[in-house]
Symmetry: C2
Subunit: 472 residues, 2 copies
């Protein structure tokens, strides 16, 4: 085995093969629930080095775990505890290779931090719209490998829809040179989208060409008090009709979720939290002017009040107010953590079915789990809810999770199945849900996925047991 | 072999197994350049029947050629001349299964004609934006199998980006139930996009759930006289910045292409054809009002005149005028045909490189091919040009094509390669370009494509020799 480490050191330099000291940054998962043990952490500095590392590992039969910013939520990017897997960190590959303003495209290496991509775009007067909580530390390679979502999906799509082309190192250590500034290319199978969302199990993304957009002239934020989930869906339809593509964000938050923010962050003013069952945060990005954006927003909210799908509303007067409203939304996970342990879900159902899903599932859980408290919030515009369950007030939260987590998951996922939904809308499968997936994915789909895995990684050395627990 | 036909008749009914009389509708390609010979044309009426047909053919080792409206441009949907391939026509599967307005989604069977999908959406006050010349007879299954493009890609993407989920019959005759009204679903590999654009070589699309959009309040059309291709790209940037997502169409047309329309369809008034090297057709879809759309359009064109990227411009006053402008654009292929035989290309390069590509390639062809006449037009907003070559005036056009077509293709494709482009932007590969593809696609990409084909269709019975000429 030392032979392999020597080979890896010869490829990337001894300084970039780590196997001593505290490797927590690569071995411990983001939510600090799982810790693996790496044979070594290898940090290549170029695509050629990644290819050589993969070739060496393939020859030795040693599995590789590709890793970006290590901010994933489904334990997909850390090694297992066996000490036999090499972590291949893309962090050193962080160059912006090219920004082509006339083609509205930027080419970056996988280790580029998402925020850096956003900033480079902004400096050129353009917009890279992918935006999510971990943007200060997640890397674009990981965003693509997990097909990240976030708050702008309603308008701009997931990471997949923001990608024009990829450079990928295959399981054999070949380089697929698929970087492309093309918006149309029908010359064969869609390999790009096969690698996107495959969580490093089919190939290692080393660089990507991404879509950019003109910066909007103004971006405004509003908050509406909404009487019910039905009303929230009605408001969404109204907003899409009236703002068109200007509607870039539509987040729904249940009263209990907001009350946790009010309780644990008293310095934050949570609009309408006392009187309204739901809050909705809307964002309107306008290519014309701030005045035009404001007029459109106010007309929309007036119509919503008239139609009864909102009972009150406020448009942020300036950027500071807008940030505060977003800050309330983004503080929900932290407030949840302050309140204590909880069970997280990342589900989607068709938007039209969300009101019935929530009504039925809320009632089911209340019936089945004494004292249950639902922290329901999410990207309603995408049909994506973080339908979380807080341990009952005052009880032993750790015991609750130990005893009830599996049962709660099963109750929620069975409801998701009944409503034609997904048990992982944006976070992926990783190792956390790999055991659960076969219960909710059709045998035909699983069979096709296994055939693809077998075809592209016959040795099974790329991120084994993630997504698919067993390759057969 | 009669055993198989009897089995097929038992599955779909004897009336729906055609193997006598004139089968031109299924055996002759859209551009009437190739004629195949089918063992039989089989017309199943349901997904279960499609699955049973595939199972019977797989057991007999008989290849299947899936076919929609038979409007493809790359000879991908007709049988080869051997008389051994079964044409599987999806035409009878033409139901709209569901329209879910609140979820902005419609589920249709593969044989649904594109125009029917557009009409069903419109009846519900919604928009299905895919739009192309053959929309009155092409089917949505074929649109997805070929990842169709068309005139609205700039804003809404190709067919791929308009699809939420697919129902597919696999090469083993299993049914992948992937219809989905979900906008986010990260539970495994992206099988949907693998089938989209695979031209029936990996599976048979039997139904799809498609994205719908709010109908814009007004759609306006303008025509600008443009002094050069550089100016056209500059106008595109300006229009994207000022109209944002309102810009739904941006078509460029060279003066010679337009002069052919003026010559062969004298009843059509072609704007600025005498004085301008290029014409640009712009479409602005506004969610607010016609007045707002017009004001935005006029302000844009004024700015373009000031910046010098347009020398003259006109906004259509009413729907009839707008239709006339689009009619001029859409008449170019017909005017070309009236002028005589020509060599067609469907290429893309990054938008920023289009001016240099055209300048260099125009000069190269003028140098290499005496009397060459370039009919250059296309979807500039997508970097997609139909960079066609008309036989020299007055000569023997048939002889020109016989002697020069291969050479012209090679000259153009080598230029496309130099500029990082694609030799098939929107039409696909079929059998027409399957022999050419290996010269312009990397061996790594071809190797991965073959591995995927082998994994999903190990018998090689689905549309053999299309896309990939040989599966190994």
């Amino acid at each position: 085995m030392n032979g392999l480490l020597d080979q890896l050191a010869a490829i990337v330099g001894a300084n970039n093969v780590l196997n001593q000291g505290d490797l927590s940054a690569w071995e411990l998962d983001w939510r600090k629930r799982s810790r693996g043990k790496a044979l070594a952490v290898v940090r290549p500095g170029s695509t050629a080095e990644v290819a050589a590392v993969v070739q060496a590992c393939a020859a030795a039969g040693t599995p590789l775990v590709p890793q970006g910013g290590n901010t994933g939520l489904v334990v997909g990017g850390i090694p297992d505890p066996s000490g036999t897997q090499v972590v291949l960190s893309l962090q050193r590959m962080a160059r912006v290779r090219e920004l082509d303003a006339a083609n509205l495209a930027i080419t970056v290496e996988a280790g580029c931090v998402l925020q850096t991509v956003q900033e480079k775009a902004r400096e050129a007067g353009l917009l890279f719209p992918l935006s999510l909580a971990a943007e200060g530390s997640c890397s674009i390679g990981g965003n693509l490998a997990t097909n990240a979502g976030g708050t702008q999906v309603l308008r701009y799509g997931n990471a997949r829809e923001l990608c024009l082309g990829l450079e990928v190192v295959t399981a054999r250590g070949e380089v697929l040179e698929g970087l492309s500034g093309l918006r149309k290319d029908n010359t064969g199978y869609d390999l790009r989208d096969l690698f996107i969302g495959s969580e490093g199990t089919l190939g290692i993304i080393t660089a990507a060409t991404l879509k950019l957009f003109p910066q909007p002239a103004a971006t405004l934020t509003a908050w509406a008090a909404v009487p019910s989930m039905e009303a929230a869906v009605q408001l969404l339809s109204l907003a899409r009709r009236r703002l068109g593509a200007g509607l870039t964000g539509f987040e729904v938050m249940g009263q209990f979720a907001l009350s946790l923010v009010a309780r644990h962050f008293p310095q934050l003013r949570v609009p309408f939290v006392e009187e309204s069952p739901y809050g909705v945060l809307l964002e309107n990005a306008d290519h014309e002017s701030e005045a035009h954006a404001r007029a459109g927003f106010e007309a929309l909210l007036e119509a919503a009040l008239e139609e009864g799908c909102a009972t009150d509303a406020v448009v942020a007067e300036n950027i500071a107010q807008a940030r505060t409203l977003w800050h309330v939304r983004e503080s929900i996970p932290l407030a949840q953590a302050e309140e204590g342990l909880n069970i997280k879900h990342d589900i989607s159902v068709p938007i039209s079915r969300i009101p019935d899903f929530c009504a039925e599932t809320d009632a089911l859980l209340a019936r089945e789990i004494a004292g249950v408290r639902l922290v329901n919030f999410g990207h309603l515009g995408d049909g994506n809810l973080h339908y979380n369950v807080q341990a009952p007030q005052g009880g032993d939260a750790a015991a609750f999770l130990r005893e009830q987590e599996h049962r709660v998951n099963t109750l929620v996922y069975e409801q998701v199945r009944r409503f034609g939904g997904s048990i992982s809308a944006e976070h992926g499968i990783g190792s956390l849900k790999a055991g659960t997936l076969p219960q909710y994915k059709s045998p035909v789909a699983l069979g096709l996925m296994r055939a693809v895995k077998q075809a592209l990684d016959p040795q099974g050395i790329l991120n084994p047991a993630r997504v698919l627990e067993s390759p057969r």
